[in-house]
Structures are given as C-alpha cells and as structure tokens.
C-alpha cells in the first residue's frame, strides 16, 4: 500500500511538475489543492506566465495578498482568456496548488468569475499539446 501510494504520489507530482511546462513544478504541492474567494488586485497578462494577484480577507479581518501563476498569455488566449478577463475589484473563487514552502502563492488550477464562468488557469498549451517547453 505504501509503495502504491508512493508511485501514485510521484506520478501526480510529475503531472503537476510538467503541466505548466515552462519550468519545474517542484515548488508546488503536487496533489494538494486550496480553494478560497478573494478580490482581484491585478491581473498580469504576460509571458512566460500570467499572474493573478488576489487579496484574501482572513477570518480575523486582515488582508493577505496571494500570487497565483497561470500559463503563458499565448496559451491562455487560445483557450478563450482575454487580457481583461479579470478586472481589479472582481470577486472570484480560485483553486490552486499551493507553494510547498508555505508562502502565499501557487499554481492556479481554475478561477470562477463573478458571472459564473470558469477558466482553466493552466491553459498554457492546447489540449492536444505535450507538456514541456
């Protein structure tokens, strides 16, 4: 059982490590996914990655800023993203693989927009494309 879990974990790790394809994914938790709601501070429509700067309000009322990595803009655009798909002040729900070191960041899995649309955060390559760079 332990061996099976180990193999599965390695495969999951490699999957996450390669999904974004520009660099290693070693800095992300390979399996763990975190979800919360926050407010868009800035959407950086850039290569080699786009970034979502998101402000989360904690239960104690404090504000925390998180940096979430997306795919490159060229891949996002082919998947239907637009440069202004996310606007400052938008209330969104995000799901992401958090940083392994516990810092406030991660690799975005998906974001749910105020109108209910859901975007894939790692649409860096078309569906039939291999991972890698």
């Amino acid at each position: 059982m332990r061996r099976a879990l180990s193999v599965w974990t390695v495969l999951a790790f490699l999957s996450v490590a390669q999904s974004g394809a520009h660099h290693s994914g070693a800095m992300f938790e390979p399996v763990k996914a975190v979800e919360f709601e926050g407010t868009v501070r800035e959407f950086q429509w850039t290569n080699p990655h786009s970034w979502l700067q998101l402000v989360k309000t904690t239960d104690a009322g404090a504000e925390e800023e998180w940096s979430l990595e997306l795919g490159p803009l060229v891949g996002l655009a082919r998947a239907g993203w637009k440069p202004r798909s996310l606007q400052p002040g938008d209330k969104v729900k995000v799901s992401f693989h958090p940083m392994r070191d516990g810092s406030r960041g991660g690799r975005l899995i998906s974001v749910t927009l105020p109108d209910g649309r859901v975007f894939n955060g790692q649409a860096g390559a078309p569906p039939d494309a291999p991972s890698g760079h």
Binding site: S24, V74, D101, A129
Partner: protein, 248 residues
C-alpha cells in the same frame, strides 16, 4: 372502408415524413482530404502529447548527473533550465517537449528553411546550400549549426554545436557533444513526423531514435511572445521562490 382509410393515411404519413426527414438531413458527403506537396512543410504545427523518448541511455557519469537533478527536484531545488532565465529552450528540449507551436518558412528558393518557435520567438535556420561551419568558427549555440538535404520527400537536418543548453527536456542532461539528426516527413496533409536521433558520445552509451509528431493548424497564427515576467526565481540557497507581486 375505415381500414382502407387508415392504411392509406399511414402510407401517406410514411411517405411525407420520410421525405421530410430525407430533406432535413441529407446524407453527408465524404470529407475530402486537401491535396498537399510532401516537400512543402510550411505552416503552423503543434506537437502532440506523444513523447519521442521514454528514457535515455546515459553512461555512468551522466546517469549520476540525472539522478542528482531528480533528487534536487524532489527536494524543491530543481535544475535551472535555460528558459528559467528567459533564454531559449534549445533544439533538443524544443523537439522533445514542445508546448508551443512552431512555424516553418522557406526562403532563398527553399535553400534556407526557418523554424520559428512561438516561445520567445526563437528562430533556427536550416541551410541546404552549405556544409557545417568549421570547428574554429563554431561556439556553443542554443539551436546549433544546422544543415539539411532532401532524401526523397524526407528533409534530413543535421545539427551540431548545441552546447549553450544542457537539458534534453526539462531535466535530463546532455553534453556539448550532442549531435541531433532530424528526419522531417509530412506523412499526410495535417501530420508532420520528426524522427529524432540523439547521439551524445560524452553522455550516452549509444544513440537513440524517437519520433515527435506535429499536427497542422492552418487557422492559427503565432503570437508575440516576449519573456518579460519570470517571477519564479532561484534564491541564494538554490531554492525556487516567487518574487513579490512584480510588475510586468
């Protein structure tokens, strides 16, 4: 009489509605395959998920390097490939893990073939009108010195001087002696095969051959791609971290 009427009505309905159905859904015509010239490789191509190499025949020295990189990766200290610094991925990594489309152009009457990768707009040239440059002219390059010729409908490309990068993909090592032979064959209108042979006498026990498959995307265009916002950086301890809220 009633039976005759009902039978007639049923036949009429069957005739009318079968005709309506036939009119609404005509039999689809078989899709024609566009004609193509197998020596015309121009266009935008995207690599499929099929990977050309499941593994590499490293000698003991390079197997050790590979194992060290795997261990560092698992420890959160991944090997820094060239693209981590917004540099080109290099020829081998581009053809083993191509997550971005390539566009192929011909110029000088087909004597020079240009292959552009969308990622950072990297462009490499295949010369069909000259041999390799001499050793004293060459220096470590990302896409090397490439010369080509046609064997029937197969474009054979021979590339040397690939010492500017050190990764066959995102992690597997190669040396500055890497020699790449590509055999491009457009096997159908929308399919381009690239049979890759990697020969690295400093790193391998023997050459390896695998095939990368590309699909034509005639409705795509390459976008501008300037690497301006790499926020995954290596700190002084060798750990990858995110720079705080950088501006593009």
């Amino acid at each position: 009489m009633r039976a005759i009427f009902l039978t007639g009505l049923a036949l009429w309905c069957a005739f009318v509605f079968s005709g309506t159905a036939a009119a609404a859904a005509p039999a689809p015509k078989p899709k024609s395959t566009p004609k193509f010239n197998p020596r015309d490789l121009t266009g935008i191509w995207m690599q499929t998920r099929a990977r050309p190499f499941p593994s590499y025949p490293f000698n003991d020295q390079y197997q050790g390097i590979f194992q060290q990189r795997l261990a560092d990766e698992a420890a959160g200290r991944p090997f820094q490939v060239a693209q981590d610094r917004c540099l080109p991925a290099g020829l081998a990594a581009s053809m083993t893990t191509g997550a971005y489309p390539i566009e192929i152009y011909y110029q000088t009457g087909g004597q020079e073939i240009l292959i552009e990768k969308e990622n950072i707009g990297a462009l490499y040239r295949v010369f069909l009108n000259r041999p390799h440059k001499s050793a004293d002219e060459l220096y470590p390059l990302f896409y090397g010195d490439s010369v080509g010729h046609w064997e029937g409908d197969v474009l054979v490309v021979d590339t040397i001087s690939l010492g500017a990068t050190a990764a066959l993909d995102l992690i597997a090592p190669h040396s500055d002696a890497l020699h790449v032979i590509q055999r491009f064959h457009r096997v159908s209108y929308d399919t381009l095969e690239d049979e890759l042979t990697f020969d690295d006498p400093k790193a391998f026990t023997h050459p390896v051959t695998g095939t990368a498959v590309f699909k034509l995307h005639p409705d795509w265009e390459l976008n501008e791609y300037e690497c301006t916002n790499e926020r995954m950086v290596t700190d002084s301890q060798g750990n990858q971290v995110v720079t705080p809220a950088a501006k593009p």
